[in-house]
C-alpha cells in the first residue's frame, strides 16, 4: 500500500480534483468528501477544539461530525463550521481550519489546554461574576475570542436561496436499506413518494459496508434500487436534501443543497432550497449513529469511530492509517478488522471489552478480549495506545489509527420534534422511538432499532405497506434480497475509568470529569447537566455524546439509564444557513411593493418617494433650483391654498359595501349615524374598536340605496376590511351585506384648492353639473369625463380648501393626471406629495394615524358628540366608560411656537413652564408638527390634559432626544378657516 488510497470504492478515478486546505494543495476524486480526500492525502489534523484548542481529526464519516469543522470557500462565499465529512469535493475547493492562531499545527491558544484544571464546567459562571460592569465589555469579548469556531466573512452572501413547496403521499426520510426498500414498495404501488437523503449518494450504510445483498454488493444493490426509483414518475428522489424538522399537520422542512457541490451556483439558480413538504404519511429511515467510548485522551487525531473507518475504506477507498487498532464492545470490531484486512490494511490489535469475544482470526492482529484502551499518545496525531488487559497488564501498542465502537444509537431526532420521548431498550442498550410520534409518522430500519440489513429491508417494506394501506392502496409483494441478519451482541461500555481527561462531547470539550462535577454540584437532571456542562449544545446537538454522558450520570446517581431519561431534540436536525431561511426575501425584495397608478408619472417628474406600508407614495416633487425639501413643500402647500393642487390618494382603502342591509351595516360599524345618509352624499365616519377607542376614520359615500363605498386610512385598509368581514360573518350573519375591496380598481386623485372646480369643469363631460349649487360640499356622483370615461366624483376635503377627489379605472390614472396637469397649466396646477398633504391637514386640524394611534378616543379628538347615543354601534357602549371620560382627560389642541425661529417635533412632551422634564410632570405629547407656510410659524397638533380649557395659555414642548425646549401657545387645532367657509365655497 502506497499512500492511503486503497483499491475500489465509489469514487471516479478517471478524474482528479485539485483542492486546497490551509493553503496547501492536494487532490481527490469525484465522489470524495473533503474529509475522505484529506485522509487520502495523509492529513489527519483538521481542526482545533472549541475551548481547549486541542488538535482534532475526523471522528465520523457523516453529518454527526463534531471535530472536522472547516471554513469552506473564501471571500463573501466563505462558510464557517462546515463539516468536512459532508462537504462534497469539487474542483478548486478551498478550505481553511478554524479556531487556531497562528496555524493549525502550532496554536498559541493551545495554552488553554494547560489551564484546563481551571476551565472546567461552570468555569464561566464561577469566574466572571465580578465586577458586573465587566460582563459585556471585558469578559465577553475575551471569551468570544478564545472560545469558538469559525467566523463569518462580514460580507453579503452573493448567492440566491429559494423556497418551495412539495406534496406527496409518503415522505421517506433516509435512503439506506430501509428507506430504499420502503420507497420501492410505495413507488411500485403508484403512490406519490419523496425519498430524501442528506448524502449526495443514496444507499446509506449499504455504501459503507461490504455485505452482499443477494448476489450483489450492497452499494450495487442500492444503485440499482435508485435507478428503478428514478424511472418511476411518481417518485421524486432528493439527494443532498436534509429533512430538518417535523412540523404540524404532516409538514416537514427540508433543505436541498442544490449547488453546494459546485464552485459557484449557475446563473439565476439557487444555492440551496428550503422545501416545505406536505405529506400524508412519513417514514423515518434515518439510520443510526455510532457512539464512541470515552477513555483518557480519546480525542487525538487518528481516533475515529469504527463504522467511519469502514465507510472510509469501503466507500472512499481510504485507509485510516498504516497500523490500525480497534477498541470495541460489540461485533463492529470484527467487521472493521475484516474489511480493513480485505483491503490490505494492517490491523495491529483488536481490543474487545467483551471477555467472551471470539477471535476473528485476522493475520497479524492481536486479539485482546476483556481488555480496555486506557490512553493514547502522539503529537498532533495518534502514535500509540495504552492497553490494559483483562488480567490487569498494561502495555503500549503502536497504532496511527484507532477505531472505536460503543454501539449504535437510532437516529430518533425527528420523532422528538413534537415532544415525543424516546424509550430505553435494554437489549439494544439504546433509546428507540417512543409511541408518541408526530402524526402520520412511522419509523423503520436502524432508526427503529432494527440494526441488521435484512431487518432494515424488511421493516422498510412493512412500514411502507402499512402506509399504503392507510392511503387505500395495496402493497406489492416484497422482493427482498438475501442479506445479513446478525443479532446485536453488545456489552455496554460508556467510559474507561482512570486518570486523564476522557472526552464525551468533542465539539464543546466536555469530559467525563465535567459530568462528575455537575453531579457533585447537584446538576443531576439531564436537562441541568446539559446546561451546566454545555454537553450536546454545540452545532452537532450532541449526536455522538448525549447518551454516553447520561449513562455516566446514571452510574453516578445509581439509577438506570431509563430512570435517568434523555434530553430530546429540536429542529433543525443539522445546522441550517440563515440564507436559506430568508430565501428570496432579502434587501429590497424583503416585501412586495405597491405602486400607485400615477407612480411612473411621478417618477418621471423627479418625485421623492416615501414608504407607507407596502406603498410607495410621492413625498414631494422638487423643482430645479429648490435646495431643500421644505422649500418644495412650502411651495406645494401655498399652491393648494392659492390655486389648485393634485395628489394621488389611491392608497386610501376603498371597500365596496352592497346588499339590502348595507345601510344598517355601515350604521353599526361607524359611531356616528349613517342610516339616513342620502344617495349622492358622502359623510365623515368615526370607527371605534370594541373597547371604545378609535380604530379608523374616513369618508363613506352612498352611491345607491344598497351601495356604499367606504374609504379607510392607508395604513388601516387591511385591518378595517378584516374588521368588517368579522362583523359581517360573525357578529351579524343575518344582515344581507356583501363586501369587496376596490382599492386597486380605482385610481383616485385629490384635486384641491380654490381653482379645483374650474379645473375639473374642463375634464368633466357636458351634462354633469358640478357647480356649487348642483354639487355641494359632501356630494358624490358617478359621472363621465374626457369623452365617456366612467368616473366617481366626491366633493370632500382633507386640506380644508374647496376640494374634490376623482376616481377612474386604475389604468387611466396616469393619463388623467397628465390631462389635469395640461388643462390646469394656466390655473397654476401643482402636484403635491404626502409631505404637503400632511402640512395642509395639520393646518386644518384633521387627524391621521398620528392622532388615531390606538390609545385615543373620539372625545380626546374633540369629536365625542359624534358617538351617537341614538343607536348602537361597535364600541359605543365601552366608549362611555368613566375612565375614558375624565374631566382632566386629553384633548386635541393646536400649538403655535411663540418664537417662529424655534423648532417643534412630533413626539415632544408637554410640560408647564419651570417644571422638571420628568414623567411625573407630563401633560401630554405632540402628535404632528410642521412648519406652516400659511402662518409662517412652527405649529403642531397635540394631546394635552384638559386642553380645551387652556386656550391661550403657554406650555413647553420638550424633546429630550434632540435637546429642544420650545415655548408654545395653546390654540384651536383648526389653524385655517375654522368655520369651514373655504371648503363650502
Amino acid at each position: 500500500m502506497s499512500g492511503y488510497r486503497l483499491q475500489g470504492g465509489q469514487i471516479d478515478r478517471t478524474r482528479t480534483l485539485p483542492f486546497r486546505f490551509d493553503g496547501r494543495s492536494h487532490s481527490g476524486h469525484p465522489g470524495d468528501t473533503l474529509a475522505s480526500a484529506l485522509l487520502a492525502n495523509g492529513v489527519r489534523l483538521m481542526g482545533r477544539s472549541f475551548k481547549y484548542h486541542r488538535p482534532r481529526g475526523v471522528l465520523t464519516a457523516g453529518s454527526e461530525e463534531p471535530n472536522a469543522l472547516v471554513t469552506l470557500r473564501s471571500g463573501a462565499r466563505a462558510e464557517p463550521n462546515t463539516r468536512a465529512t459532508v462537504a462534497e469535493l469539487f474542483d478548486g475547493l478551498e478550505a481553511t481550519s478554524q479556531n487556531r492562531w497562528p496555524s493549525l499545527a502550532f496554536d498559541a491558544m493551545g495554552v488553554n489546554d494547560w489551564l484546563a484544571p481551571f476551565l472546567s464546567a461552570g468555569f464561566y459562571y464561577k469566574t466572571f461574576m465580578w465586577p458586573a460592569a465587566f460582563w459585556e465589555r471585558v469578559y465577553e469579548p475575551i471569551i468570544r475570542r478564545a472560545a469558538g469556531l469559525g467566523a463569518l466573512s462580514g460580507q453579503d452572501d452573493p448567492d440566491d436561496y429559494d423556497k418551495g413547496f412539495l406534496h406527496c403521499d409518503l415522505l421517506v426520510i433516509g435512503a439506506g436499506p430501509a428507506g430504499l426498500s420502503a420507497a420501492l414498495t410505495a413507488g411500485r404501488a403508484g403512490a406519490r413518494v419523496i425519498l430524501a437523503d442528506e448524502d449526495f449518494r443514496m444507499g446509506g450504510r449499504l455504501n459503507a459496508e461490504s455485505f452482499a445483498l443477494g448476489e450483489m454488493r450492497g452499494a450495487e444493490w442500492a444503485a440499482q434500487a435508485v435507478a428503478e426509483l428514478a424511472s418511476l414518475d411518481n417518485v421524486r428522489l432528493m439527494p443532498r436534501t436534509t429533512v430538518i424538522g417535523a412540523f404540524d399537520h404532516g409538514v416537514y422542512g427540508a433543505v436541498e443543497r442544490v449547488a453546494d457541490h459546485l464552485p459557484i451556483p449557475p446563473e439565476g439558480k439557487p444555492r440551496q432550497i428550503l422545501w416545505r413538504i406536505t405529506t400524508a404519511r412519513t417514514l423515518l429511515c434515518a439510520g443510526a449513529t455510532e457512539r464512541p467510548v470515552a477513555f483518557a485522551d480519546n480525542d487525538r487525531p487518528g481516533i475515529m469511530l469504527a463504522g467511519a473507518m469502514r465507510a472510509y475504506a469501503n466507500r472512499w477507498a481510504v485507509a485510516p492509517g498504516k497500523r490500525v487498532a480497534l477498541f470495541v464492545n460489540n461485533d463492529d470490531g470484527l467487521r472493521t478488522a475484516q474489511d480493513l484486512a480485505a483491503q490490505g490494511v494492517r490491523v495491529s490489535a483488536i481490543i474487545d471489552s467483551r471477555p467472551y469475544a471470539p477471535d476473528p482470526g485476522i493475520p497479524g492482529a492481536r486479539h485482546l478480549p476483556g481488555a480496555l484502551v486506557i490512553g493514547s499518545a502522539g503529537r498532533l496525531g495518534l502514535d500509540t495506545i495504552t492497553v490494559r488487559t483483562a488480567q490487569g497488564r498494561e502495555f503500549r501498542i503502536d497504532a496511527d489509527a484507532l477505531g472505536v465502537s460503543g454501539g449504535w444509537n437510532p437516529n430518533v431526532h425527528l420523532t422528538c420534534h413534537q415532544r415525543g420521548r424516546p424509550v430505553w431498550d435494554d437489549a439494544l442498550a439504546a433509546f428507540v422511538p417512543g409511541a408518541d410520534l408526530p402524526g402520520g409518522m412511522a419509523v423503520a430500519g436502524a432508526a427503529a432499532g432494527v440494526f441488521s440489513t435484512h431487518g432494515a429491508l424488511q421493516s422498510g417494506h412493512a412500514a411502507a405497506a402499512r402506509a399504503l394501506e392507510d392511503l387505500g392502496r395495496s402493497a406489492p409483494a416484497p422482493t427482498l434480497p438475501q442479506a445479513e441478519d446478525t443479532p446485536i451482541d453488545l456489552r455496554p461500555l460508556w467510559h474507561v475509568p482512570g486518570k486523564g481527561r476522557a472526552w464525551l462531547d468533542f465539539q464543546n470539550d466536555v469530559t467525563v470529569k465535567d459530568i462528575k462535577l455537575a453531579h457533585q454540584e447537584n446538576f443531576r437532571s439531564v436537562e441541568h447537566m446539559k446546561r451546566y456542562t454545555t454537553l450536546g449544545m454545540a452545532t452537532d446537538q450532541g449526536k455522538t455524546s448525549n447518551l454516553p454522558a447520561l449513562a455516566i450520570m446514571a452510574e453516578l446517581t445509581g439509577k438506570t439509564i431509563a430512570e435517568t431519561g434523555t434530553t430530546i431534540f429540536r429542529p433543525p436536525y443539522t445546522p441550517v444557513s440563515l440564507g436559506v431561511l430568508a430565501g428570496r426575501a432579502r434587501g429590497k425584495d424583503f416585501k412586495p411593493t405597491r405602486l400607485t397608478p400615477t407612480h411612473h408619472w411621478a417618477k418621471a417628474r423627479g418625485a421623492v418617494f416615501v414608504e407607507a406600508g407596502l406603498w410607495l407614495r410621492a413625498q414631494y416633487f422638487p423643482r430645479p433650483g429648490e435646495t431643500h425639501w421644505r422649500e418644495t413643500v412650502d411651495r406645494e402647500v401655498l399652491a393648494v391654498r392659492a390655486a389648485v393642487g393634485l395628489c394621488d390618494v389611491t392608497t386610501l382603502g376603498k371597500i365596496d359595501i352592497q346588499g339590502r342591509d348595507a345601510a344598517e351595516f355601515v350604521n353599526r360599524v361607524y359611531a356616528n349615524g349613517f342610516a339616513k345618509l342620502a344617495v349622492g352624499r358622502v359623510r365623515y365616519g368615526l370607527m371605534l374598536r370594541e373597547d371604545g377607542f378609535l380604530m379608523d376614520d374616513g369618508t363613506t359615500a352612498r352611491l345607491a340605496e344598497d351601495h356604499f363605498v367606504m374609504t379607510t386610512t392607508t395604513a388601516n385598509a387591511g385591518p378595517v376590511y378584516r374588521h368588517l368581514e368579522f362583523a359581517r360573518q360573525c357578529l351579524w350573519p343575518g344582515l344581507d351585506v356583501q363586501l369587496i375591496s376596490t382599492t386597486d380598481a380605482w385610481a383616485q386623485i385629490a384635486v384641491a384648492g380654490p381653482r379645483s372646480r374650474t379645473l375639473l369643469q374642463r375634464v368633466v363631460d357636458p351634462g354633469h353639473d358640478i357647480s356649487n349649487a348642483a354639487f355641494p360640499f359632501m356630494a358624490c356622483a358617478e359621472i363621465t369625463i374626457c369623452g365617456g370615461l366612467r368616473a366617481r366624483l366626491f366633493r370632500i376635503s382633507f386640506s380644508g380648501e374647496l376640494a374634490y377627489e376623482i376616481a377612474v379605472p386604475a389604468r387611466y390614472g396616469h393619463a388623467l393626471m397628465e390631462r389635469l396637469m395640461e388643462k390646469g397649466a394656466d390655473l397654476g396646477v401643482t402636484p403635491y406629495g404626502t409631505e404637503a398633504l400632511g402640512v395642509l391637514r395639520i393646518e386644518k386640524g384633521h387627524a391621521t394615524a398620528n392622532e388615531l394611534n390606538g390609545q385615543t378616543t373620539a372625545r380626546d379628538l374633540g369629536m365625542g358628540r359624534m358617538v351617537s347615543d341614538k343607536k348602537d354601534s361597535i364600541g359605543a357602549v365601552l366608549s362611555r366608560r368613566e375612565g375614558m371620560n375624565r374631566e382632566d382627560g386629553l384633548h386635541l389642541v393646536g400649538l403655535r411656537a411663540l418664537n417662529t425661529g424655534s423648532r417643534l417635533a412630533a413626539g415632544s412632551h408637554l410640560l408647564e413652564r419651570g417644571a422638571d422634564a420628568v414623567a411625573a410632570n407630563d401633560l401630554g405629547w405632540v402628535t404632528s408638527a410642521c412648519w406652516s407656510p400659511h402662518l409662517e410659524a412652527p405649529i403642531a397638533l397635540a394631546f394635552l390634559k384638559s386642553g380645551a380649557a387652556r386656550m391661550g395659555e403657554t406650555v413647553r414642548a420638550v424633546n429630550l432626544l434632540s435637546g429642544q425646549d420650545t415655548a408654545v401657545e395653546i390654540v384651536s387645532p383648526h389653524f385655517i378657516d375654522p368655520e369651514g367657509e373655504r371648503l363650502r365655497a
Binding site: P592, L595, Q658, T742, H814
Partner: protein
Amino acid sequence: MPDLTPITPLGGSSLRTDTIGAISIAEADDWALASVAARAGQLEDTLTRARKLTGLDLPGPGGLVAGGDWRAWWMAPEAWMLATPLSASEDIVAAVKPALGDAASITEQTDAWARFDITAPVGFLERLCNVDPARVTPGTATRTVMEHMGVVVLRHGDQAFSVLGVRSSAGSLHHALLTAARAVA
C-alpha cells in the same frame, strides 16, 4: 370612447412578455372582471341568472369554468369572479347587473387585478406557492399566496395558467414570477 390612453399593469404602453427557456410569462389586460356575490337567500336565483347570462354553471370551491365569451371562478362562499373580453364589455357592471338584478351584488374588479398568462410545466408553481400540482388540475382556481402577495392561480390547460394579483403589486409579482422561472428553467 374616452380620449385618455390607459397604461398596462406594469406601467407600460404595451404589454410585456418574457420567455425563459420553456416558460413564458405574458402580462395581460384583456379581461373585464366583475365580482358576483349572491345576496342572502338568493343563491339559486344567482346561479340561474348567471347561467342565463353566461351559459355557465357557477362552480363550487376551487372551480374555474369557461365557455363562449365568459369565464367564471369561485372566490369565496357564494361569490365568484366573472371575466369577459374587455373590448366587448369595458363597463362590465353595466353588462352584468341588469342580468343578475337584485339577486347578487356586482362590483367592478377589472383594474383591481394584474394578470399574467403563463405557459409552463406545472412544477413551476413549486417555487412560488403552496399548491399541490395533483389537485390544481385544469379547470381549477386557487387562492393562495406568492411571496407574501395574495393571488389567484387559474389553470386552463396542462401548461396554461393565469396568475392574478393586486394591480398595485404587479411589478413585485412579475419579479417573483421571473425569478422563479429563471430558477427552474
